[in-house]
């Protein structure tokens, strides 16, 4: 299987990815703006990227923009901001129906691309700033999002654990910022932050589908070049997090029925694909060590999973369980990591994990956004392997490499969210 994928750099330093595949009934444009995570700038960037999809100069109100999107068969205009290692990723995207799928063959791709362009480069300004009304709405929305993290306890536990696991490093910070940081943002500051983001971010433009001409890409690149004609922002994706000399244990109480356990392990070495295979073997699939032992054999939990924080050399294991089982579960997780590090797995188990991962990697071919994410991540790694090429790399990995990977990970932090003293919530 191959996908028609090309990648090149515009003269202004913008990375341009094109994915052509006529099996999809949609087109896709994604603009990624990457900056180092920064306590002051990141919350502003998050707010900026949200505001850009509220209106634009051609559609000065949110309602007008929504109507324009609906008239083009429901263009999905999206914005999001998230962490990738020590960087903040701000994304703006448009997904829309392929021209040959519209009623009567109406051509909509050029109009959809223009809406996205206008949102990014021609926002609706009033007196030189973003609309005060939309600024107020989105700021409130960001404040609500920060406060609402407590609503979902697994996510809350993970965020609290992150701040301790990576204390002092950019990744420890939420890209939404704190209540105080967000509350302090003013409208003129945010407008300035918009210009700063477009000028200083590393930019990648992805065009997927078959209806969008190269001229759209050129137009987007030229618009960015007006903010910065010579963009040069290298992304240092791999910066391993130093492991604590002594494991940090901390717990917190909340009105919950189920405890959440988060354990972090860190390794100074990086072998990208060996680390990935190791983490899946340990706790990334239903035949993994953690699933079989912690869940199935000991019946301690519903989930106990491991995942790698790529770029930071960190392995996170998390589980939801009863308070009286915390110690047993911790010990079992350590035992299973040690088992992998001791080579206590069969060749068959290893091959099965590789097969599962290869199957999952190849499934990226069937989704425009997924294959875009795939190649973007490849770029961060400094490679451009296709899913099939990575499958070849996986197949060649030896059990010794997996053992070495596991041996590298040492305990760093143990975080427990537990019910309030006096018993579990009834």
């Amino acid at each position: 299987m191959s996908v028609n994928f090309t990648q090149n750099f515009h003269e202004s330093g913008i990375n341009v990815i094109r994915i052509r595949d006529d099996k999809f009934k949609s087109n896709y444009i994604c603009i990624r703006l990457v900056t180092p995570i920064d306590a002051k700038k990141s919350p502003r960037n998050s707010l900026t990227i949200d505001l850009l999809t509220m209106s634009n100069s051609a559609c000065p109100t949110r309602e007008q923009l929504e109507e324009s999107l609906a008239d083009l068969y429901g263009v999905s205009l999206g914005s999001c901001s998230y962490r990738m290692a020590d960087y903040q990723m701000c994304e703006l995207s448009a997904v829309f129906l392929a021209d040959d799928c519209t009623i009567g063959g109406e051509v909509i791709s050029d109009k959809a691309a223009e809406i996205l362009r206008c949102c990014i480069f021609e926002p609706h300004f009033e007196n030189g700033c973003f609309s005060e009304k939309y600024f107020r709405i989105r700021k409130q929305s960001q404040l609500d999002a920060i406060r609402s993290i407590i609503n979902e306890k697994r996510q809350y536990a993970m965020q609290r654990a992150f701040s301790e696991i990576f204390r002092g490093e950019p990744i420890a910070l939420s890209t939404l910022g704190t209540i105080e940081e967000t509350e302090s943002i003013t409208l003129p500051e945010l407008t300035e932050s918009y210009r700063d983001l477009l000028k200083n971010a590393a930019v990648t433009i992805t065009i997927g589908g078959t209806d969008i001409p190269d001229s759209v890409c050129d137009m987007l690149c030229e618009s960015f070049a007006k903010f910065n004609p010579h963009r040069d922002m290298p992304i240092d994706y791999y910066r391993s997090s130093p492991c604590k000399a002594e494991t940090l244990y901390l717990s917190e109480q909340l009105d919950v029925r189920q405890c959440k356990l988060v354990m972090a392990f860190k390794s100074p070495k990086t072998n990208i694909y060996a680390d990935k295979v190791m983490s899946v073997l340990l706790g990334g699939c239903p035949t993994s060590k953690l699933h079989i032992n912690v869940r199935e054999k000991l019946s301690l939990c519903y989930y106990c999973s491991a995942r790698l924080i790529e770029g930071k050399g960190t392995l996170i294991v998390d589980s939801g369980l009863d308070k009286e089982n915390i110690k047993t579960t911790q010990e079992e997780i350590l035992r299973q990591l040690d088992a992998v590090a001791s080579g206590d797995f069969t060749d068959e188990e290893l091959e099965n994990v590789k097969l599962l991962m290869c199957s999952a990697f190849r499934s990226n071919y069937d989704n425009l956004a997924d294959i875009d994410d795939w190649y973007y991540l490849q770029m961060l790694r400094g490679t451009s392997y296709s899913p099939d090429e990575v499958c070849d790399i996986l197949r060649a990995l030896t059990r010794e490499e997996i053992i070495e990977s596991a041996k590298g990970f040492k305990p760093d932090t143990v975080y427990v969210l537990e019910p309030l003293q006096g018993g579990e919530k009834q």
Binding site: K23, G74, C101, T102, Y302, S363, D366
Partner: protein, 430 residues
């Protein structure tokens, strides 16, 4: 074995085959050119609401504990010799399962060989193995799953709304049951439910993506034997048209109060239900969707948060049909008041035809776009087929739907006397 075959033609959006296999199973195959992955769903018309049933074997109607369909789903992954996941492991396929109110389904997805995983799927779902020991072992795992759900205020808000909308219907009960109800589940009860609902005549196999129909049928021929007609009947309590309670609240550790507002509709079935469901989806967008004047008002007054506000049609052939909007708000009762007032106002002034056309076009675009996703296509076939519909009916109805039909649906469905609200208040507001 013999197969009766029909082709469901969606024109430019694709086509698939429905093969009525002589075993009693309906096999749906959608070959999607150019796609790498293959997804399959093997499911039964058996969900959490099916706690009362009879067959030729039981004679009278019998009742089983809440949460048993979900428990059964968990237990089928353990057969006599091994864990089922270990059977899939050498194939590279990713297996999973889910239980809803009205179905239980077993799935796999792969971008490699699909024939062996299909054989495993058809085999393990038809080989139950329940013992006192393995049923007991699962209780702890499912109890943790239930506790995890109980810590979710969003889920609590949703299920409380269903309890407010429905007096007796079993959708009032969480799909996994309760920590208490699952204590009553025994191997005998699991076998009874299994033998009732996992009859091939009550099941569907759907497979889409990189697949070959002839090979699918050959595998079915090899794996399946004819199922007897056990005259299965399910029963639900009589459900009054009005709501059980207008307002329901609970307290959780949340940032802002959460709300879910529902309007209970009369029940329908099959094509009639689908047409009303599509109309209701369009109407919700017209009343309180992001292009509506009401949404603008609520957003600008700070009564809703645009990134956490959603609309949903809740429906099923088993006699439930409602529209739900939910999100968070500093004043959920005010949202309800304005929502009701807007519906009453539209009843007097009439709907906006231009907005209807916009929403219809939007929904058409979203529906067609979804047909590029193998997982959507396979589930779309599955859910539609068990309701006697095809995967292309939604797109077809959207392309021909008239304003008059939506106006009529508005008059019939949106009775504000049948509205209820569920609110999750902040813990310290208790």
């Amino acid at each position: 074995m013999s197969v009766e075959r029909e082709v469901i033609d969606g024109g430019t959006f694709g086509s698939y085959s429905v093969c009525h296999h002589s075993s009693g199973l309906d096999v749906l195959v959608w070959k999607m050119d150019g796609f790498t992955t293959t997804n399959a769903v093997f499911g039964t018309k058996y969900g959490s609401v099916n706690t009362r049933f009879r067959t030729v074997d039981t004679g009278e109607f019998i009742d089983v504990p809440d949460g048993i369909a979900h428990y059964l789903e968990h237990k089928l992954f353990e057969n006599e010799d091994s864990d089922v996941f270990s059977l899939f492991a050498p194939t590279g396929a990713s297996a999973n399962a889910f239980t809803t109110f009205n179905v239980t389904a077993y799935t796999f997805g792969t971008s490699g060989d699909w024939e062996k995983p299909l054989e495993i799927l058809l085999d393990f779902v038809r080989k139950p193995y329940f013992t006192d020991e393995n049923v007991q072992k699962e209780r702890g795992i499912i109890a943790q799953e239930i506790k995890m759900s109980q810590d979710s205020p969003d889920r609590a808000c949703y299920f409380n709304l269903l309890r407010a909308l429905y007096h007796y219907h079993p959708v009032r009960i969480d799909i996994a049951g309760t920590v208490e109800s699952i204590q009553e589940i025994t191997p005998e009860l699991l076998y009874k439910c299994y033998n009732t609902f996992y009859n091939l005549r009550n099941m569907v196999l759907c497979i889409a993506g990189n697949v070959d129909e002839q090979k699918v049928i050959e595998i079915c021929d090899k794996m399946l034997t004819p199922a007897p007609d056990i005259k299965l009947e399910t029963a639900y309590p009589d459900e009054p048209a009005d709501v059980a309670q207008k307002r329901i609240t609970a307290c959780y550790e949340v940032a802002n109060p959460l709300f879910a507002i529902g309007i209970k509709f009369p029940p329908f079935k099959g094509m009639q239900l689908l047409r009303y469901e599509i109309c209701a989806g369009i109407l919700m967008r017209m009343i309180i969707g992001d292009m509506s004047p009401l949404f603008k008002e609520l957003l600008e007054e700070g009564l809703i948060n645009s990134s956490n506000f959603g609309l949903e049609i809740f429906n099923d052939d088993c006699g439930v049909f409602a529209c739900i909007c939910r999100g968070d708000s500093k004043d959920p009762d005010k949202v309800l008041e304005k929502y009701i007032a807007r519906i009453d106002e539209l009843k007097r002034t009439g709907l906006d035809e231009k907005l209807f056309e916009r929403v219809r076009k939007l929904k058409y675009g979203l529906e067609v776009r979804s047909l590029s996703y193998v997982d959507y296509c396979v589930e779309n076939m599955f859910y539609n087929h068990i309701s006697g519909l095809t995967a292309f009916d939604t797109g077809r109805i959207l392309s021909e739907l008239t304003f008059k039909e939506v106006e009529d649906a508005f008059a019939l469905l949106f009775d504000t006397s049948k509205a209820a609200i569920s609110i999750i208040e902040k813990e310290n507001a208790r």
